[in-house]
Symmetry: C2
Subunit: 404 residues, 2 copies
Amino acid sequence: MLTLDEAQSIVLSNVSALPAEPAGLVDALGRVLTTPVTAQVPLPPFDNSAMDGYAVVAEDTRGATPGSPRLLQIIDDIAAGVVPERTVAPGTAAQIMTGAMMPPGADAVVIVEHTRPGAPGAVEVFVPVKPGDNVRPAGEDIERGQEALSPGQVMGPGELALAAALGYVTVDVVRRPRVAIVTTGSELVEPGRELRTGAIYNSNQTLLSCRVLAAGAAVGERLHVEDDERAVEDALARCAEADMILTTGGVSVGEYDFVKAALERLGEMKFWQVRIKPGKPVAFGTVNGRPLFGLPGNPVSAMVTFELLVAPALRKMSGRTQCLPPTVQATLASGVSHKPGRREYRQAVTRSEGRGYVTDPSPKRGSAMLTSTVGANSLVVIPEESEGLKSGEQGTVIYPANGM
Amino acid sequence: MLTLDEAQSIVLSNVSALPAEPAGLVDALGRVLTTPVTAQVPLPPFDNSAMDGYAVVAEDTRGATPGSPRLLQIIDDIAAGVVPERTVAPGTAAQIMTGAMMPPGADAVVIVEHTRPGAPGAVEVFVPVKPGDNVRPAGEDIERGQEALSPGQVMGPGELALAAALGYVTVDVVRRPRVAIVTTGSELVEPGRELRTGAIYNSNQTLLSCRVLAAGAAVGERLHVEDDERAVEDALARCAEADMILTTGGVSVGEYDFVKAALERLGEMKFWQVRIKPGKPVAFGTVNGRPLFGLPGNPVSAMVTFELLVAPALRKMSGRTQCLPPTVQATLASGVSHKPGRREYRQAVTRSEGRGYVTDPSPKRGSAMLTSTVGANSLVVIPEESEGLKSGEQGTVIYPANGM
């Protein structure tokens, strides 16, 4: 049986970044840039005032004090967005607003708090300035022609604001993966319907739709099929437009495991078991070159295998370079027992405390125990041969704090 | 001038959680529950098999070994979702699928890997089981009538899957705040248009729209107005339906600061300066009981004041109880200088490394330096009276890793 590391490497070698597309700036949030954003204009585009105040010839203010202010004639009032036309000559000043263009002749700005009204039409400056004070020179942040954002950059609010500041309306980013979700199982009833004896409510459709959205991907087809070979194959055919197919159930060793059978017939099965707990019966393959994950039917197993195998694939398809689940070292707030054999992933509540992390694993180990996920934000890793982890010990925790 | 702590406390005492509404499960992702989710059915709803195998009378398997297996007659084949009708008597077994209902008479399941075909219509069991082995009893995870999810719970994929498993189609969650964004400034030109001399591109509209969405809130009106008293007031009037209004620009000490003037006339100004850097000129007040933040016009200042003041308000309005920005202690990867006076927040790239965090502050301090935000995911706090932080020193970092 494959180790998780082997399974992850098979998954990642069978998926690649999706094609790029131009996207409006807000629509590009969280996506990965593919074409550089270059400065078509310098930033700032022109010398401008960093503060509200008076544009002056710095030399004029030399030695100014509250007791011995310098009186300057006001020759202009420069609002942001206008082009100043009058030159500030020695002995004069122009009132200027934050962000407004520096007038010719002036080489510094005295902030309004360091001035007071002088004679009519004049201002008294009582703190001296040096040339360049409170002036933002053109190109200070970025010069024309420079590469502002490079391919591979994850576009957050700051990066997208920078693209806007450079005049961009769209940027080229990797397309969002569109994920089809097919739940299987004749025992599943949709929430809201009557629950007949022997049946349970379908929770995997909700689980996976939410987790896909939290990963920044889009949900495509949402289907449910009975345990029937033909129905499973038809459902997979209906997902032909998806970038990835997720199924739940039907991948174990039983006679009703039609997903496994369909994958073997329609596509190429890469693996169908991994030495982890929960989540051993997890299949991966490709159908028409597109990845298909056959996740276990138990919701906790589906959740764990999503974090360990599906999320890395979505990251790679989204153009990210760090694809494996992010881990931290944490102090266990409570112990967990373990039967040596498979590597175990236990739902846990992890928080940062001072300089490090503390993690509190759920005592509920069952792969159908959905209540173990309540409040959980992470998975404690219990090594294969371990007999458990003690309270106070250090452990590795998968902590995908920022969703993706 | 107010300290940040005072300003945050004024903000939080002037906003409250928005009303609840029923939401479909996927639409409730990331929102806060207001009405308990209780178990209308136990989970699991009935005794069922945890594995693919054979339902047996455990006593029948006592002492079974590969060399001395027990032969049991197969009386049934129980698929998931059906109600078994035949009773498993001693000497018999029913083939059973994971999740299928346990048949009357059986008290354990032998996994299929511990069996082999026997005589026609029979199975050989070569590993013994005890009563209850591989059986999930009804109510093991949660019993009927128990509270599964309590008000205040943030609804992630696991919590929503649990609600689905209990048959819920909708849950009651706090309404998403709808945020109107009004940028002001005659110097601003929308990206894509021609940039006239003295003008700059509007980046704040993009910045704030993205940051609001990343916080799980919705963007309402998106307006831009010139520096004109009447235009600003008209714009605020058009945002009457929003739960919160954000403006940028027009809140300083200059003569063009129409946002401050409008807030004073139309609503109630609570404060308009905070002792932080960047972001000193930030106003907060209420208009018709709704919060209005007058953020500075410089994009880096707008970003910092969003994290420090707006994000906490959005958390409280969204029903969260931990509202202040989350902080961690981190080792500085490089030093930063600081002029004693206002508390400074510097853009930084923070990552977890081993048991702790490392943070690398941007050397760019300017409040208009948008490139300082590229790749940044956090803000290093430089205390008021500090002369800077040295490389290798510990510092406090605002690290809102999970967006909200």
